[in-house]
Amino acid sequence: MRPDDRQYLKSHEWCKIDGETATLGITDHAVAQLSDLVFLDLPAVGASVTAGEQYGEIESVKAVSSLYSAVSGEVLEVNAELPDNLEWLSEDAFEKAWMIKVKLTDKSGDLMDAAAYEETVKAEQ
C-alpha cells in the first residue's frame, strides 16, 4: 500500500497537504510506467498552478508526459536538485523526489485516498 498520509490523482500524481502548504509529486507507478527518465521541467518559485492543469513536464527516452497539479496556488518551493538527479524518482518517489510545494488556495475535486488509488492502479494492470 502506498502512503496514506496524502491523496492521489487518477493521472498518478500525489499531493500531501500540511496546513496551507501542499507538496506535489508523482507515484512509483507513474515512474515505472514512464521508465528511462531523461528530463524534468518544473515551474519557477512564484509561478501559479491550477488544480487539474499541467504544471510541468517529465520526459523519458520515448515520450513526454504532463505533470498535473492536484491543487491551485502559488509555488513556494521547487525541488531544484531533482532535475539533475532523476534516479531519486525510482529510489523514493514519495519523499526525496517531491517536485513542488504550493501555498494552497484550492484543491482538485478528483483527489482520492490511498485505497482508492490502489484500485485505480490495479484496474490498469
Partner: protein, 372 residues
C-alpha cells in the same frame, strides 16, 4: 498505458508469456500487446550495435501472393519493379493511393523456388493493405493469403547475428546476401530466413511456422547468451531504425506524403503501371512538392518529439516526424519535412518545445551507418 478494457481487444504473439516472464513492459502497439522494453531502452539499443539482440516481430503483417498473374498483380499494387526481383531476393517498396500518397511501405520477397511472392507489411496497416490487395487482385489471376496468424517472425540484429544464427541453421549463412532469403532448417524444422532488418545492423529475420515460436526464441537465447544476445523491445528498435535513417509509417511517411519528397525514390520504378504513378509523374514534372524530408541533430537538453514545430526566422516551416535520443551518436536526432531552400546540410533551424526555441541543424542521413 494499457487499460483492462483495451487488453481484451488486443492481439498477442505466441511469445507474450515469455516476454512477461522475462520482465518486459508490454504496451498496446498497432492493436497488439507488444514488449516495448525488457530493460533500459538506450542500453538495449547499445547491445544491438555492439553484440546482438532478439526481437519478436509477430505483429508484422505477412502475406503470400501466388497464381499465374502474381507478378502482374504486384506491378499494379506497388512501386518497385517486381519483374526485376530474382528468385530468393527482396526489395523495399511502397503501396500508394491514386494521388501518389503513401498507404504503406513494404518488403517484397520473390520465393526462392520462384513459385510466388511473400510480403511483409506494417502491423498498423495490415487490414487496410489486405483490403487494397484483395480489391486489386480482382483484376488478376492470383491469390492473396494473410499468413500473419499462422506464422511467427523473429529477428536477430547486430554484428554477432551470423555466428549466433549459424549455430541453429542447417545452411551456410555466409552465402546469404543482404536482402536475400532462403528455405532451410532452423532448430531442425523447415523454415525460411532472410538477411534483412530494421536496425542498420547485419542480421536476419526468421519466419517461423506457428507452434515453433517459443522453441526458436529460447534456442536463440540459449546459443547466443554467452555472446551477450538479449531480447530487445520495440522502443530500442525505433531508436535503432531512426539512427539508421529508415522511415517509420505514421512518422516519416503517411497518407499525406509521397515517396519522392521522402527521399524514397529508389523504391519507385516508372517501368510499370502502379497505382499512383500518374500523380507521382505530375509531381516530378512540377519539380517536386517544394519540401523534403531531412535529418537534423539537436544538442539541446530537450529532445525534439513528433509534432514539435520546426522554426526558421521566427516562422513555422515544418514539424518533427520522429525524434530520438541517439545513444550511438550521443545527441538528439530528428526528421522533418522542410522547404527545399532549408534542406541543405548545415542549415540552422530551431524546434519549439512549449514556449522555448531550441537550436537544431540539418545533417546528412542516415545518422548512423555501420562499417562493413
Amino acid at each position: 498505458m494499457p487499460t483492462a478494457k483495451l487488453r481484451g481487444l488486443m492481439r498477442t504473439t505466441a511469445l507474450e508469456s515469455i516476454h512477461t516472464q522475462a520482465g518486459a513492459r508490454l504496451v498496446p502497439f498497432a492493436g497488439w500487446n507488444m514488449p516495448v522494453q525488457y530493460g533500459p531502452i538506450l542500453d538495449e539499443a547499445r547491445i544491438v550495435r555492439s553484440k546482438a539482440g532478439l526481437f519478436d516481430l509477430g505483429h508484422m503483417g505477412r502475406v503470400n501472393v501466388h497464381g499465374p498473374q502474381a507478378e502482374d498483380f504486384l506491378q499494379k499494387l506497388q512501386t518497385n519493379d517486381a519483374s526485376k526481383i530474382p528468385p530468393g531476393r527482396i526489395r523495399y517498396s511502397m503501396i500508394l493511393n491514386e494521388d501518389g500518397l503513401t498507404q504503406d511501405d513494404i518488403l517484397v520477397y520473390r520465393n526462392p523456388k520462384n513459385d510466388g511472392f511473400f510480403l511483409v507489411i506494417n502491423a498498423g496497416n495490415t487490414e487496410r493493405d489486405l483490403e487494397i490487395m484483395r480489391t486489386t487482385a480482382k483484376d488478376f489471376e492470383c491469390e492473396v493469403q494473410d499468413r500473419t496468424a499462422d506464422t511467427g517472425m523473429i529477428a536477430i540484429q547486430g554484428p554477432l547475428s551470423e555466428q549466433i544464427t549459424q549455430r541453429l541453421t542447417a545452411s551456410d549463412l555466409s552465402e546469404l546476401k543482404y536482402y536475400a532469403w532462403m528455405d532451410t532448417e532452423i532448430c531442425g524444422q523447415p523454415m525460411t530466413i532472410s538477411r534483412t532488418g530494421y536496425t542498420g545492423e547485419d542480421g536476419f529475420e526468421v519466419y517461423v511456422p506457428a507452434g515453433h515460436e517459443a522453441d526458436v526464441w529460447n534456442a536463440f537465447l540459449e546459443v547466443g547468451g554467452d555472446d551477450g544476445l538479449q531480447p530487445i523491445g520495440l522502443g530500442a528498435r525505433d531508436t535503432l531504425r531512426h539512427e539508421a535513417g529508415m522511415p517509420l509509417y505514421g512518422h516519416e511517411i503517411n497518407e499525406t506524403t509521397n515517396p519522392l519528397e521522402a527521399g524514397l525514390d529508389f523504391a519507385v520504378k516508372f517501368t510499370h503501371d502502379f497505382t499512383g504513378r500518374a500523380a507521382l509523374e505530375a509531381v516530378q514534372q512540377k519539380g517536386g512538392t517544394g519540401r523534403k524530408l531531412v535529418g537534423m541533430t539537436a544538442a539541446s537538453k530537450r529532445c525534439p518529439r513528433q509534432g514539435y514545430p520546426i522554426v526558421h526566422d521566427g516562422k513555422d516551416v515544418g514539424a518533427v516526424c520522429s525524434g530520438s535520443i541517439s545513444p550511438t551518436l550521443g545527441t538528439n536526432i530528428a526528421t522533418a519535412y522542410v522547404p527545399d531552400a532549408l534542406a541543405e546540410p548545415g542549415t540552422e533551424l530551431q524546434f519549439r518545445v512549449r514556449e522555448a526555441l531550441e537550436p537544431c541543424v540539418v545533417v546528412p542521413t542516415p545518422f548512423y551507418k555501420r562499417s562493413r
